[in-house]
Amino acid sequence: MADTGLPDGASAPAEETSLRRRPFAPSPEASVVSWWVCALAGALAGFAAELVFGGIQLWQGLMEVGLVGAGPTVPGLGVSLVLAVVGGAGIGVVVGYRPGGYAAAAAAGLVLGLLWWVVESLTVLPLLSGVPVTWSASAAQTTFGFAIGSLLYGGFTGLGAHLLVARYSTTRPVSDGRDRRAAPVRRVVVLGGGFAGVSTAQRLERRLSRRADVAVVLVSDSNFLLFTPMLAGVAAGVLEPRHISAPVRAACPHTEFHRAVVGGIDPGRRLVHLRPVDAGGPSALDYDHLVLALGAVPNFRGLPGVMEHAWSLKSLDDATRLRNHILGLMELADVEANPVRRRGQLTFVVAGGGLAGCELVAELCDLVQDVRRFYPGVDPGDLRFVLVHPQDRILPELGSRLAEYARQRLGDKGIELLLATTVAEASRERVVLGDGRVLPTQTLVWTAGIRPNPMLSSAGLDLASNGAVVCEPTLQVRGHQDVWAVGDCAAIPDSQDQGRTYPPTAQHALREGRAAADNIVASLRGRPVRPFRFRTIAILVGLGHQQAVAQVRGRMFAGRLAWLLWRSVYLAKLPGLEKKVRVSLDWILDLFFPRDVVLTQPSAAATSRPRELAWNEGDE
């Protein structure tokens, strides 16, 4: 591990401001006396206290006081002194040192003395002398003299240790009240605020919570962690957008957060270039360790018109706009006179029959069916939901029995499944399929593929064929000891399955983040790093109203049981108690009240375009 690294932004481009390492405010009362000093002082003070109070016991003939019946073996002054030195060291360590805290030191010593009496006189000595241990009041009365001795010994040891340390500290400035931890000397920078990035930061924060010399910095263009598995619920209007997102600043309170877009990475100079999201100039961050958790973006495969006209479901904005778009179409269809155009407005196409596609098409179907009664002009016969999937079975991630079950459930809902079919082209009012068929529709949702964040292609790192960063099994980026990659943007070799990489799912991202954090901590401490190993625990797919399929470690569940499992697992995984409560309330209220048809975008024109920015602009 190299030392403190670079002078801040020494060779960054001229217009960039370099982000300084934030110093910690000094904490004036922090104890800076190491534990062995306290132990030494405690041992000395304990010795002196025992000389006095043990001496009194010896002088007054109290050492011979025994329990009723068989007298316990009572240690002589020599043994007592040895015990007192050991006990004093213990008291010194436990009491610690805080400038000016005489009274607290004496008080803590007193409590420890009392405990010492319970342990020594009421427990250990009777045990040693074969007297039954009763902890009874009569035993306590018999040894009350020892209680007083222990109390005074403890109190004076605590006070004495404090005075000794205070004395010591005036000759050597170890506790002048100034905090020596001026600024963190090392910086770990995490790029990306998704599951992988936030779990890395959280784990780092937890593992490094007692070290002030390492700062953790997280950079993301959104200041919240989005719980993507519930996005379909937002698109369907069941969940409030804010309820499935947790602020990064609350989730990682000890992490320094920068809301910015990553403009570039310079592993050679250990610099990250940032562009602000809203205003301000570019800036640069230097790092000692860098974690790439930049995620993925939809992959439209260059199909004509798809990028411009297909909706995607990767961000909160996507979900709310999609919901607005669908409700907007319902409004239009309600008053549309032309039956052909109305059928187009009421045809909803989802491309991709994977986990996301199946969940989404089922949720959209439920949404439309649920709000249909507000729109008397909409003929139920005109509603059409289509799932287009290139393979001959949906849900390739699951076993064939579950996939077949899911296919039947979707069919029961009235969803058309076009298997072994691809989307070839899209425009504002229609979708052309690979076999030449044309679907008149104004809604094409694209869930058929993702690709790692395109920003990575300019970083000079080794990339796999899909554009992901090639990693070692230890999560280190190939050829770089101090760059780590996790989540959807990383190609991490699967330890169980030679030649394959771990799939881009949330449960993998979470574990990869934690493993990367552990390895970073290990390498900061000069310890060996470990390869990442994880086996998928469960795959859960919601299929709309009280239907789901689940595969947990090879076991299969379907129907209501799977749906309950799906809800409870996702609820448990939702970050923070507050969001769990809010989502539960959303679900409960949904039982009693109709779905909301409020349009939160002012005009249909605003929702008619899937996105404002093209993906190749480097958005995450």
Partner: protein
């Protein structure tokens, strides 16, 4: 503040305390024995001797407390603990040595010196309060509004009324005075309400701070209850009724059944006041006033989980005591069984629940092992009173075991509860320090706040635990049995 100022303040406070102590000793007729130090048998000389000693002891108190940031209530507790400490050091050790007598390090000698313990508690309380008044108010402490006093009053009234309604005849709060039970119902009701109001408002005046969790308030309340028992029950009421101080061991033993009443009164009043004030804050405080606070629900689940885990660890330690004293059968009877295995299961379940409550009540209140031991043992003591002496016997179809003899018989259980509390507190602290060491600021904004809280905790909390622990052992051992 220079060291000289601290000494002089201590001397003045010590003189005030000495005056109270001297008055009590005069009432007990003990001043001539104090004069024995200078080989004279005279009341006046005795008073002069004791007040000079009091001034010196007060000066030491002023010095020791010089840099502790303690306000009224905490200073009162520091004074009480200091007085108790001087009973052990002065009355039982130095005084006999100076007089050439054997030191009083035995239960019998301690019993005969019991009146001076109560006297020294009065001395400590007075010294602490006067010293706090001389030091003036800490500008960083919040100003106490009328709303807080109303909350305190309401809490005190509710708790007194509730305790009076549910407790049996000999344990009621007013049972402290036999004369009161002979009064007409109207007078009794007024006295009860007055007591509740005074207790609640008094608590709020002593502790104007609103702690961020209820645990410290609960332990403070136990200490406050003990103070009320000594101050009201053993001193003021008998003084008013008969101009006597019934401070001998046998007299105090007769008043023992009201001690748990007052401890529960103090603890419940403190907890309820805190809850009412927090509720008020929750409802009415503007965001700017509570900018530094997390919401009530934030991090709750983790605190509960850590508390539960720590509770099981403490419960396992307690199990050793239970097996040794053969108590598991009694625990098993709670669910109608007699098998020890059932007893262990029930005991661990209770330990887990009480530990989870500890997690809620004491999160972010420990900063080192000493504070963990302190809070934990005080919490264990509270549960000895509430669980072992009250709920368990009532559950098994009996009465609260609140006599001195019953408390002494339950002494092994007290040791078990203290061990449970210590194990619980230390484990919880270790878990918290591993995952959420709040006292180490990692962001500049937290640093000042964390440092202030740390100092406040470190300089005020020890007084409370030490008082509770000393009281638990001393009072039980000396008053029970024999």
């Amino acid at each position: 503040v220079t060291r000289g100022t601290a000494v002089w303040r201590g001397v003045v406070a010590g003189l005030a305390g000495g005056a109270v102590f001297g008055a009590a000793m005069a009432r007990l007729g003990a001043l001539p024995t104090i004069a024995a130090l200078v080989r004279v048998n005279s009341t006046a000389v005795g008073f002069v001797v004791q007040i000079s000693v009091a001034a010196v002891v007060g000066a030491i108190f002023g010095l020791v407390m010089d840099r502790e940031r303690a306000a009224r209530g905490e200073m009162l507790f520091w004074g009480l603990a200091y007085g108790a400490f001087w009973w052990y050091l002065g009355a039982l050790t130095l005084w006999p040595i100076l007089l050439g007598e054997p030191v009083g390090w035995s239960a019998a000698a301690a019993r005969s010196a019991f009146p001076s313990l109560l006297g020294l508690l009065w001395y400590g309380a007075t010294t602490g309060l006067v010293l706090a008044a001389l030091r003036g108010t800490d500008p960083l402490r919040p100003h106490l509004g009328p709303g807080a006093l109303v909350c305190g009053g309401v809490a005190g009234l509710a708790v007194v009324w509730l305790l009076n309604a549910i407790l049996g005849e000999p344990n009621r709060p007013l049972a402290i005075s036999p004369a009161m039970t002979r009064q007409p119902a109207m007078v009794e009701a007024v006295a009860l309400l007055g007591l509740g109001l005074a207790v609640g408002v008094g608590y709020t005046l002593l502790f104007p701070d609103l702690p961020s969790t209820t645990g410290p308030a609960l332990v403070r309340g136990v200490g406050y209850g003990f103070l009320l028992w000594v101050g009201v029950g053993l001193t003021l009421v008998p003084l008013i009724e008969s101009a006597q101080l019934p401070w001998s061991v046998t007299q105090v033993r007769d008043a023992f059944p009201t001690l748990p009443t007052y401890l529960l009164l103090g603890a419940a009043t403190a907890a309820l006041t805190t809850w009412l004030r927090r509720a008020g804050r929750l409802l009415f405080a503007a965001p700017a006033q509570r900018a530094a606070e997390e919401g009530l629900g934030a991090r709750t689940l983790r605190a509960v989980g850590r508390g539960a885990a720590a509770g099981v660890v403490g419960g396992l330690i307690f199990t050793v005591v239970m097996v040794q004293i053969g108590f598991l059968g009694t625990v098993a009877r709670l669910v109608g069984s007699t098998r020890p295995a059932v007893g262990i299961a029930v005991h661990l379940a209770i330990s887990l629940f009480i530990g989870a409550c500890y997690g809620l009540l004491f999160r972010r209140q420990t900063l080192d092992l000493a504070s963990a031991l302190g809070w934990g043992s005080a919490y264990g003591f509270l549960w000895w009173i509430l669980g072992a002496l009250t709920i368990l016997p009532i559950w098994l179809g009996g009465q609260p075991q609140w006599t001195a003899q019953a408390a002494a018989a339950a002494f092994p259980s007290l040791i078990g509860h203290l061990a449970y509390g210590a194990g619980l507190g230390v484990t919880f602290h270790l878990l918290e320090s591993r995952y959420d060491p709040w006292w180490i600021p990692h962001v500049a904004g937290y640093a000042v706040r964390a440092a202030r809280r740390r100092t406040e905790l470190a300089s005020t909390a020890p007084a409370v635990w030490i008082l509770v622990d000393l009281m638990a052992v001393t009072v039980t051992v000396l008053l029970g049995g024999a």
